[in-house]
């Protein structure tokens, strides 16, 4: 593994690479979930792990998500570093009780006597023409829970580095992987075991005219939008939030203070989505620098539709550009 340098990998391969790396490096890391063993996970994120590390450390669980999250908690308290997989994020609601009432609080409740270094990962979001309930965007539910971290990678390299960081983090991390990007593109990822920083946004592209803020699957559309804007002479700053919770407001505020305009893009339903949290933070800390209202481009407040209509739900480049245009119009570029 360690020899494999900077191969071109997909996001899901990067996840797999990080799991291989960390399981080899730290014998306390265990992987558990439904079909993670011989089957290698329904998205193949855990492929090869059981062969290499055995069924004791790569654990096929019975069909019970509450159990999976609770077991991870129990394991974490014993010094293991469980990485639990939930097959689709739409089945993670069953984990919320354990995560909010326990994982997130064990350290605080016991003043550090008991800690909970666990990761719970799941594919998140739509766009893969999956069956019903398989395309949900659930980040805001978990990001509202004090004591958790919520991390959403948007590229193979960040997926690799952030997953390593999440596993090494001494506190519980919800790690939501954009299923739509699992095989969307490849990127050179060195399997060097270097973690990416948590709790920090990534300014992917600097710009002066407006700030585009997003994370996970929508970063793809945001990057395309930024390219098109550049072609039109609009210089957008692009930020991948990456760690939603705790939120690196400082980087976001600094950017918006510079550009004076922003559009936040997310896939989840609009009301109570994490874009709202970001907008609220900006409205509080960057308002006096804003030339235009803070625009959110989100999924609608509707049920995530089935395959034939899902493209209508997920914001596309057109919706992003039209929000940008509106934002730019209100107070023309200085």
């Amino acid at each position: 593994m360690a020899r494999r340098k900077a191969a071109e990998v997909t996001l899901v391969e990067a996840i797999n690479l990080a799991l291989h790396h960390e399981m080899a490096r730290d014998e306390n890391v265990v992987v558990l979930g439904e079909d993670v063993g011989a089957n290698g996970g329904v998205f193949r994120a855990t492929v090869g792990l059981q062969e290499k590390f055995g069924p004791g450390r790569v654990i096929d669980t019975p069909l019970a998500e509450l159990l999976i999250s609770a077991m991870a908690i129990g394991m974490a308290t014993q010094g293991l570093k469980p990485v639990a997989e939930i097959q689709f994020s739409g089945f993670m609601y069953s984990c919320l009780d354990q995560l909010a009432n326990h994982a997130a609080r064990l350290r605080h409740r016991t003043h550090g006597r008991i800690t909970c270094p666990m990761v719970i990962r799941a594919p998140n979001g739509g766009g893969i023409h999956a069956p019903e309930h398989h395309s949900e965007s659930v980040e805001a539910f978990f990001a509202h829970v004090p004591g958790l971290r919520v991390v959403v990678p948007s590229t193979p390299a960040r997926a690799y580095g952030l997953l390593l960081a999440a596993i090494r983090d001494p506190d519980p991390v919800v790690f939501l992987e954009p299923a739509r990007c699992y095989r969307l593109f490849r990127e050179a990822v060195a399997d060097d075991g270097i973690a990416a920083p948590l709790d920090t946004c990534f300014v992917e592209r600097e710009g002066t005219d407006l700030t585009l803020i997003s994370w996970g699957g929508m970063m793809h559309e945001v990057r395309i939008a930024a390219d098109q804007l550049a072609a039109d002479g609009v210089d957008a700053e692009v930020i991948d939030v990456a760690t939603l919770k705790p939120l690196d407001t400082q980087t976001l505020v600094a950017s918006v203070a510079k550009t004076g305009r922003c559009v936040i893009v997310e896939e989840s339903p609009r009301a109570g989505g994490w874009a709202s949290e970001i907008a609220a933070e900006l409205a509080e800390h960057a308002m006096m620098n804003l030339f235009a209202p803070i625009a959110r481009v989100s999924g609608y407040d509707t049920i995530m539709p089935l395959a034939r209509t899902e493209a209508r739900f997920i914001p596309d480049v057109g919706r992003i550009l039209s929000a940008v245009r509106k934002t730019l119009e209100i107070a023309p570029l200085g």
Partner: protein, 366 residues
Amino acid sequence: MQTPDEARTRVASFEIFLTRFLDDDGRPLCRLPAAARRPQRLLHAYRLMARIRAFENKAVALQRTGQLGTYASGLGQEAVNAAIGLGLARDDVYLGNYRECGVPLARGVPMAQILQYWGGDERGMAWPRTVPAFHDFPFAVPVASQVPQALGVAYAMQLRHEKRATLVTCGDGASSKGDFAEAVSAAGVWKLPVVFVIINNQWAISLPRSRQCAAVTLAQKGLAGGIVGEQVDGNDLIATCHVIETALARARSGAGPQLVEALTYRLADHTTADDARRYRDAAEVDTARKHDPLARLHAWLEAQCGFTAQDETRLQAEVAAEVGVAVKTFLATPAPPPEALFDALYAELPPALHAQAFAAAGGGEA
């Protein structure tokens, strides 16, 4: 004086039974119940199973050719699906999951609508008011979540002193979820008119039954709630009909809930997105094919009811024609319009959502 071990008192004892009427070659293992000996009924059941199988095969074929979304085939489970469909009275309510398309088919739902659903169009679950399935639940995808819902349905029936029953199916995997256990336990408390059917097809995606649960039978999960649990050979249409009808009759009569574990086998991959060769032996599947529920009933019909090769050919042709028409209708159905996102979201669309609905319909950014 007794030793400590002798001083232990037995406070409860239980037995679990398996019902099986036909052997693998369709020969009777016992005198069949009267109802089971009516050829018309059995022919009707066989035709239903044939329809289900033809549907399953076509759905997979459509997916393979890019005309349908991911599909979870019920291949091999036709007998238990048919038995449920036949056992349910029009007024009963059925809740089941994604793999049990056979039941709504038996309950009158047009094939084209089931395809429409799997084709990614919600309108596939807007079943016509005229069909017996009208009050049945849409397919449950979150595994086991339908099971506790069945209790509410059954409770309403009991409260209104109706002679109706609720039947809910789930898989062997599903029986590991807390949803299932909470429901079984509460059903016992209120003696609700509900029949739980675990369709144990031996696999939950890649997890075999043996690693799903250490209990010898899943039927004994009923004991945790103090309700009757029993096994049936779910590939034996006659036995399954008998057990399910009896359980439904008990429920309707007020005698309380029951758990039935129907033993069958998932002959197909988990879904069309799955490749079962990764985790299960071809030999196991080959063996399972020998217990094919259609072959078994076919053998019985030939031997006992004068069912001929021509009868079979005719039946297959009719069924193929029905499926063909359904596929045509399905393929001809246009995609829902974008504003369908907001259809039937609430009884009346709240004003707060008008702008979004307008935008989604192409009227400009929300």
